[in-house]
């Protein structure tokens, strides 16, 4: 699966968590721009994990600050 398709699937998953309907680009940051708190992060990560059947451990989450990094991480985890 290529990056574009992965990005589209993640974009669909983010919508219900994007309460303020912030325009999403690769540089959109989860805490600073989307204002995700720890509970939102947990639910959002679980949604992505279920969609792609992967694990994104907290260690890996710590390296992901923005949307582009998340897409890259999912592409890599999907192998």
């Amino acid at each position: 699966m290529d990056r574009e398709e992965t990005s589209a699937r993640i974009a669909a998953l983010i919508a219900p968590f994007n309460k303020k309907e912030v325009a999403i680009t690769d540089r959109t940051r989860f805490t600073d721009d989307l204002e995700f708190d720890s509970l939102t992060v947990m639910d959002f990560v679980a949604a992505i994990e279920d969609e792609f059947d992967i694990i994104i451990s907290m260690n890996q989450q710590a390296e992901i600050e923005n949307y582009g990094q998340l897409v890259d991480a999912v592409v890599k985890l999907r192998g």
Partner: protein, 409 residues
Amino acid sequence: MLSDNMTVSHTDLFSKFDPLIEMRRNLLDSGVEDPFGLVMERVLSPTVAMCNGRETILLGTYNYMGMTFDPDVIAAGKQALDDFGSGTTGSRVLNGTYAGHRAVEQALCEFYAMDHAMVFSTGYQANLGIISTIAGKGDYIVLDIDSHASIWDGCKMGDAEVVPFKHNDIEAMEKRLRRIPDGAGKLVVLEGVYSMLGDIAPLKDMIAVARKYGAMVLVDEAHSMGFIGPNGRGVAEDQGCLDQVDFVIGTFSKSVGTVGGFCVSNHPKFEIMRLVCRPYVFTASLPPSVVATARTSIRKLMHAGAKRAHLWENSKTLHKGLKDAGFQLGTDSPQSAIIAVIMPDLERGAAMWEALLHEGLYVNLARPPATPANMTLLRCSLCAEHSAAQVQQIIGMFTRAGKAVGILG
């Protein structure tokens, strides 16, 4: 290198705490007493102390079994002070293991009917040490998102991959276990009683799933020891799955009534932990008086069936009384000795806490980030030494304070 007359701009490392300092100041400026600065001037019994010159019923301690003033426990401590001195001044693996440390570990083996027991200086260190040591690089820790700080810190201190799942959600746990790569070591970390809401875990089902995926299982029974289960061994015993648990973590700071922590296990290689577990090795051991009181208390807790029954009565009566009065509680039914009363927000929570203190009742105020879902809670923890009359008195105090603060209609 900077020359003597050059300076670099100074960053105050404390500036990161400014939002919290501000929040605290706002709370205290509103005129309420500091909920995190209470001093007990005298302690009269496991259930009563003097606070601000006022006799106060204690409903926010972890003294579940009321062992702190047990005459046998006190006598054992005094004797150990006379015989062994005030402290060991050393690590368990050097000069810090006295006969009393061995004796309390033996008492734990008998209490849990397990082969090995290792005593730490606190329960916090037991979680820190065991979790960070057994789960290493390339291993996975799968844990409940509402786990205690000491479990999280144990994960943070080690090198394993950390994978949380939604509180008590068996399916969410199973999905994560299923996705772990083949061949990786797996540790599932659960608690018997979750101390913020006082709810218990469906351990039997969760542990069956964990074992199906070949995971080792660690259960923190800090808030159930001495009380839950036919022999007071905890929620896993109560649900008939203690034999499926690889490591039980516990503390002396709650039902046992002193301070210290432990891990008990049947793992055949468990004793190696004493050499490789840094929070065990690089700190001083507990004072002789502490291990003597702990040992005496643990042995008495083996035969405390009547006290356990009375504590269940107290928990049921208080839960029903508060529910009937109109309070919103953390659990639909009483599941442990902790009953959490949910407050609408921190301001009214603090006001309620203060109103109760003026009534002569101490409870715990808990607020985010310690609480799940950003709740403000008044946490009540009952004691086997609370009398039935005290419990009725407590319900009356809550009802009056709730009306005064406007939480009850």
